[in-house]
Structure formats: C-alpha cells, structure tokens
Symmetry: C2
Subunit: 368 residues, 2 copies
DNA sequence: CTGAAAGCGCTTACAG
DNA sequence: CTGAAAGCGCTTACAG
C-alpha cells in the first residue's frame, strides 16, 4: 500500500512526533500539554522544549483518541425532523431554539451536531444509530415518539426533549404553558370586541395543537361565546404547506361573512394567512385581526407585525443544553434517574399591530 | 475507583461483549457486523449467533474508536460568525445555506457540526482547534480572514469557503455573481422610472458590498445618471442593528425629498427599511420603491414582498458539501492541490410587489 | 480460510 | 518524582 507515503505530508502531528522533536517520551509531552498534575515535576527547560515543539508542529490532541479514552466527545446532538417533505427545511422555530443551543453549548465548550430526520417514527433507528459515541447526549426537538417505541432510545445516552408530544421514559421535557398563552391571546381578541374567531389549529393529533385549542375554548366559554367547530381549520404547522389550505378555506367561503379575527397555531401559519388575505384584498387589521404564536422572527418582520404569544424558545434551547450536560456529567454519579420530568416555561402575550377592533360594517369574503 | 461499578449499567455494549455473548472473538464479531470481506467464511450459524447477540445487546460500533482507525469522523464542520454582538444570532442567510448543507450531508451519511465563532480574526485559533479530528473538513461561511493570517488554517484539514472576503490558499470559494445581480436590479429600478436611488450598502470594507456598489454604479452610469455618494448609506448586514441607522438617516433628512427607490445590501436590511418607513408613514411601493438582495425567507414574507436578487444559497450550501467531501476523499490521492479556486453561481432577478413607479407628486420625508 | 497480534493517538494507573 | 505499560474500542495486516 502506498498509503503511508501519501499520508505523511498531510497527517496531523501526533504526541509521539512532539516527543521525538523535543527528545522526550510522548507521555511527557502529554503531561505538559494537557497541564495534568503529573507535569508538576518536569523541568522548566524540558517543558519549554516540549511546548516549542508542539507549537512548531502545530500539535493538536486528536479528538477521536481523546474521546476513546474519556468516553466523551464533547459534542451534543440536536435532533429534529425537517418539514416540508422532499424540499425539507429547518424553520424559524428551529432557528430560535438552535441559537440558544449554540450559545449555551459554546459556553461549555461543547460542539453541536445536527441530526436531521424526516420522520420520528420511521427514522428512530437512525437516531439510535447516532448514539454511538459521536455525541454525548441528544436534545430532541418536538419529538413525536409513541411510548411503545420509546424503548428504542438507547439507554446509555442521555436525552432531553423540547415540546415532546408525549412523556418519554427518563427524559426531561421542556415545554411552555401553551394553554395559558392561547387562553390569553384569545381573551385579548375578545376584549377588543371580536367574537367570531377562527382558529387555524395545525394538526389536532399534536399535543401542542390540543393545548392551544383548550386555551381557545376556555377563553370563548369564559366569555360565554359558544364554540363553533367549523371555525377550527387544520393547517399543519408550516408556512408553505399552510398557504394553499388557507387559500382553499377562504375560497370555499367566498360571499360569506369574514370572521372578526384569526388565531393561528404559530407565526408561520400566521404569515401564510397574511399572504393569502393580502391576495384576496382583505386588510389586517382593518378587515380582520390576526394573531400568531411563538414570537419568531416571522412575527416581528411581518407587516403589520403580528400580535402573538411569546415562547422563550432561545432560552429553552439554552436550558436544554444545561440540563443535558448535567445529565451527561452525572451519568455515572449515583442514580441515573431524573428528578423532574417537566420544566414549564411561562408564555407571554406580545401586543403588536395586527389586532384592531371589529369593523362597524361586517365584511364579506370577496371573490379573488 | 468505583468507576467500573458505576459505569457498567449505562455502558454501551462493545464488540468484546458481543463476541463473548456469541462465544466467538471480537474480531469475528467485527467481521460479521461490518460486512467485511473477511466475514466470507464464517459459518452461517455462527454468523447468526453473532447477529442475534449484537441485536440483543443493541450493539453499535463506537464512533470514536472507528474514527481513530479510519482517520475519519464522517462529520463536516460549518463555521460561521454569529452576528449581533452579545445576543448573537444565526440568521436567515445562514439558515438557507445550512438547509442545503444538512440535506447534502445527510445524503452522504455525514453529520454536520456547527462551529460558531464571534470574530474571524480573533477566533481563528479556535477554528484551528476544531481541526483536531472531530471534523473531517470545514465549510467556512462568509469568512473574513486576512491573507497574512490564512496560514493559521491547518494544512491537513480541507476547507471550502462560501462568499469568502478574499482568496484563501488552497481553498475553493463558492460565490455568486453579485455584481451582475446588483446591476440588474438597479437597472430594473431605472427602467421603472426611478432615478434617485439610495443604496443601503452594508459595510464598504466587505467584498460583497463592494461588488454590489460596482453593479449599482454601473447601472447608474449606463443610464447616464450621475453617481451621488451621499446616497450610499452604510448599514452593516444585520436587520436589528440596521434599524436605528436607517431611522437616523431618515430623521436627518426630514423635510427633504424622499428618494425614488432604495436598494439594500440584503433582505434583512431591506426589512429594517420597511419597518422604519412604516414608522414614518411612508408607503412601499406607493411613496418609495424598495428592493433587497439574497431572496431569503425575509423577502418572501415581507408585506409587500420584496423584489430582490436571488442567490441560490441552498444550492450553494449543498454544493459546498459535495466539494468538501471530494477534497476529503482525495486528500491522499495524488496531488493535494485544488483544481479551481472559484465557483460562481448565477444570480437571478426576482420581481415582487415592492417596486412601483415614481409618484407623480414628489414626496417629502415627513416628521415622525 | 481463520485466529491472535499490532496499531490508530491518547491518558491513566502503576512500577521503578 | 519519573518512565514504561496497559487500555479505551475498533479494524487491518499478518501468521497459522
């Protein structure tokens, strides 16, 4: 094999190389370079020679070798399902969380690896495959893993979930008080005089959707507004796929009364509404009020800016890293059971320009 | 040390464990489980026993150990500077590219690790530190590394750059034809009757900004419109920091004539303009036309949607991965020199609603 | 064809 | 206090 002749020029320097260059053993070099206690009695001159040699050779301890000894890669995985089918894409929701993850991981000198899946259930084996030492733990973003499959998650890898659709054994879940958030924003709409409030509700099989619906219904009933199931529209959670659904809903209702307000399951779907309403020449908030959920960039850059419910996504991502690192560090310390299984973050109503008062003259949905 | 007693329960199964359980050597287990040629003559019954044992023990080959042998982590790094100072954040530009990276990496079974820096120059040593075997190569996103420092990039690690601010030795750079893009969009504005065109130009020390300015000036001069340097406003490249700058510019010019159109260095700055103009009660495109650059999500969700120059960011991210993997695989194959140092992607004018025709009655910038 | 040994690069525990 | 050896988990090249 010509392998060695090819490799030499581009191979990274090794501890043995440094030792050789400094005229000491690899171990001595190791002791000096990683500042171990054992380096205490290496003479200053030797130490200097070693450091100089390492510098000249641009020596960097090999991460894989270190990981093998320490059983730690210093890398955390972030697992997410990319939506939108074939042209899948990471979205705003992910981006906000990921910003928090990156930030917190950097503070602890951890790298972050993205483990992109297409479907939680189908790709569970791939997720398990990632738990082979390349990451020390994994943050599951909005996982939907049926309990009966949850045993497929490797036991020796710590997990932390964000917005898990259901409880996962031995996994802390971070969530926010979505029901209260939904309750408050719908109550706000009602306080502005709105009564016929459409809810673009995502996907009713999802826990997050159910919680928003509960909040929505509670707000209605506390104002003695009867719940009208025809005002619940399933849109999914992504902006692009939601667009035709909203458009279709609007077209189906041409000539009928425009609702007073629309509450969308998240800001992305809120934007889809904004776009379709604009197409139809319906103005927000003059003709109809519109509110979102999450407070992602989307809500802030929309025109008009969306009134929404803020979930502290960045903080949640950041906290997820801390909890995960905690579990990683104490993996072998006493009991491996988690203390609490849920951390609930508060939500917050964010008032912006997309909510007005019902127009005096009720408007019909126009042809478009 | 009580280490072993603590570790046992949560330790992942090893090849030796599998061998023991199946009554064979670790090597035999290895041969069967990784489907090596050497497994050819292991009896079917033994092979079955091994596979069964591996399944029962949920055996996964340890990534670090494999990496140590193969000198490959099957992980690529994506290096990026997070903007916005302390509350740094990954932005739309990054997200689009990253989507392409993730997609292409997954196809080749590579993981993707994000290496977040704060400043190219100051954190160069950190970047070098990441080249310690944890990644097989690195994609540099919009690097600004002065030539005299470029030798700090480890030789044994392949790099590919996207929108590098200057040529880096032995690094392929992917870029788009920004100058032509800028030329075309300004020409488009001119064709709609606009003549006084402000350019929010980012940061003139950046290559990308210079190219846009060149395109802008070429378009002006080809229409015999004199270049007015006071119409060039430095805004940086990020939406949030650009906001006060745009606001300040507008306030400074209260009572003066509103320009016909504004061309912004990217969509984020475009949005900042949109917001500030809205504050001042100035309508787009009725009072002033506005165009961006990049065609990120921001441009598509703005209201009105922004006319912009599309850079195929996702495709560029995807291609960067392919080129990087190519370099990684051929690292030891013959010469280690790159063949081409630049790949230029075409840009494309995207017409949307944010451009109109100059209003008949010139408008002054109002008090706000 | 099959098994025992060497080695990837590092660190830790153990003799001198 | 310092050095040689063992070992992390795997694979590959080399004797039987």
């Amino acid at each position: 094999m010509a392998r060695s002749t090819h490799k030499k020029p581009s191979r990274a320097a090794t501890l043995a190389d440094v030792g050789r260059a400094a005229g000491v053993s690899a171990m001595a070099a190791s002791a000096v370079l990683n500042g171990a206690r054992t380096s205490s009695r290496i003479s200053p001159s030797t130490r200097e020679r070693i450091i100089e040699a390492a510098g000249k050779l641009r020596y960097r301890p090999n991460a894989a070798a270190r990981a093998l000894v320490h059983q730690r890669m210093n890398t955390i995985g972030v697992s997410i399902v990319i939506d939108g089918g074939a042209q899948g894409e990471l979205n705003q929701y992910f981006l906000e969380i990921f910003n928090g993850v990156i930030e917190s991981a950097a503070v602890s000198n951890q790298n972050t690896t993205v483990l992109a899946l297409h479907d939680w259930q189908r790709d569970l084996y791939r997720l398990a495959g990632f738990c082979d030492g390349r990451v020390d733990g994994v943050i599951l973003i909005a996982p939907r893993i049926p309990s009966e499959l949850s045993s497929a998650l490797p036991e020796h890898t710590p997990f932390v979930a964000l917005h898990s659709d259901n409880p996962l054994p031995n996994v802390v879940n971070l969530e926010s008080d979505e029901e209260t958030g939904a309750f408050q924003i719908v109550q706000h709409l009602i306080s502005q005089g709105h009564r016929r409030i459409v809810h673009m509700c995502g996907d009713q099989t999802a826990l997050g959707a159910q919680r928003r619906i509960r909040g929505y219904r509670k707000a209605l009933s506390s104002a003695r507004i009867p719940f009208d199931p025809t005002l619940l529209i399933e849109t999914g959670f992504s902006q692009i796929p939601a667009r035709p659904i909203v458009r279709n809903w609007l077209k189906t209702n041409i000539g009928r009364l425009l609702p007073d307000a629309i509450f969308t399951v998240n800001d992305g779907v809120g934007l889809a509404c904004l776009e379709v309403l604009a197409e139809a020449g319906i103005k927000v908030p003059e003709h109809v009020s519109l509110v979102g959920f999450d407070d992602t960039l989307a809500a802030r850059i929309a025109v008009p800016q969306l009134t929404t419910v803020r979930q502290p996504l960045r903080a949640m991502g950041s906290r997820a890293v801390e909890l995960l690192l905690d579990r990683i560090h104490h993996k072998h310390g006493g009991e491996n059971q988690i203390k609490q299984s849920n951390v609930v973050f508060p939500t917050e109503l964010v008032l912006r320009a997309s909510v007005g008062t019902p127009s005096a003259t009720p408007k019909l949905i126009p042809q478009f």
